[in-house]
Symmetry: none
Subunit: 215 residues, 2 copies
DNA sequence: TCTGATTTCGGGGCAACCCTAATTTTCTCC
DNA sequence: GGAGAAAATTAGGGTTGCCCCGAAATCAGA
């Protein structure tokens, strides 16, 4: 009884590479390839694979939406998300959509093979780095998720964040908000903890992603 | 006489996949793998490969800077750039750095194999989609050079800028570049003066605009 | 009213920032 | 091949600001 796999990734070279690796496994069988989310949904229906390796970011329809649609039709299928290193912010949404696993592309093939066999056994597999994000969100509930869809920053924090990202110094910000510099520093500390960013560089990047300032 | 290849890509799964595909070719031999630009430079020196498959976007040191450094040491080496679909803006800089080929990752292995054999024969290979970009830039020369790296930053300054924008501190950068912290400070000062940016926020934004790091 | 989130503030250590200036290496041009 | 320019390196010394520790006051809702 072999495992039937559907690949969904918009990079052909990645698809071919993963297929080549998987074909070295006796009990694994690649039954199809999708270039975008929409065709992944269609092929999942037509082929009924056991496992789908789903890139998170794809044109036309991203992996999160595709996963939701596929599992609504056929909850038996296991979806393993594949993402770039800096796409970790999609973790919670992908898992909420029903993914059984989450791998960063910076993982070994050995890890991928293990993930496939684990989800087949109805277990969940997360890359070590991803585990941290999930545990953090679990321990300190999703108020503090680094997901762009759930940035739970207070008004004050957004004000401070924007000014920081615009290049103002703490005393300048304190002055323009009429509070002590120490207050602004606390806000910055809380911001860095909330969005899991390191230093002004990280804060600035987050502010750009959130549209609080422009690059 | 087989072709020796060095892989430089920060995604292990991609490296393993491409390696697996290349190993199916009789006359091609993968001699090493680099996870970032810096180790690519080192491995290029140690292994002296015939061809380097170089991801454009990598942490620590990107493919453009790495290519520049590698070809300065050993112009005999052929570099083929691999990029994501939306990294096309780096085409001109990568070619200017001396790359012999430019492939988008959404290409077939067949295409990759052909590219490798062409650059070995001292020819240039560009993905069809990339050709368009090059021709367009050729027809309408860079009157207003909106391209990244158009700024008069030196290689070293670009290295430092990327590391700063990735959130590293001055002592960390000094350590990883094996120079004094004062040297890094000087580079940072010069950078801020050159690009008229204030503080780490300004430097980070500039690095994002120039594609040295991602938001 | 009590809990918890928000906003506020302080001290100490270290890093960023600004200035000037020197040496060595590398490149370019004649 | 040698002169000059540009780049890369290091340094001293001072001011300011960032960052991490904690903690008090304010305010909202259970």
């Amino acid at each position: 009884m072999s495992i039937n796999i559907l690949l969904a990734d918009d990079h052909q070279l990645t698809r071919e590479g993963v297929r080549s690796l998987l074909e070295g496994e006796e009990d694994i069988n690649v039954v199809g390839e999708a270039l975008d989310g929409r065709s992944a949904v269609r092929l999942a229906r037509e082929l009924g694979p056991d496992v789908i390796l789903m890139d998170v970011c794809m044109p036309d329809m991203n992996g999160i939406v595709a996963t939701t649609l596929i599992l609504a039709e056929n909850p038996r299928i296991k979806v393993i998300a594949l993402s770039m290193l800096d796409d970790r912010r999609f973790v919670s949404n992908m898992l909420r959509a029903g993914a059984s696993g989450y791998l960063v592309k910076d993982c070994s093939f050995k890890e991928l093979a293990r993930a496939i066999r684990m989800v087949i056994a109805n277990r969940t597999y997360l890359s070590p780095g991803i585990m941290d994000v999930v545990v953090k969100d679990y321990v300190r509930p999703p108020a503090y998720s680094d997901s762009p869809y759930s940035s739970n920053l207070t008004i004050r924090e957004k004000e401070v964040l924007q000014l920081v990202a615009e290049g103002h110094s703490t005393p300048q910000i304190a002055n323009s908000l009429h509070v002590s510099a120490k207050t602004i520093e606390s806000h910055r500390q809380n911001l860095m903890a909330k969005i899991n960013a390191k230093g002004i560089a990280g804060l600035t990047k987050y502010a750009i992603r959130e549209g609080l300032t422009s690059a």
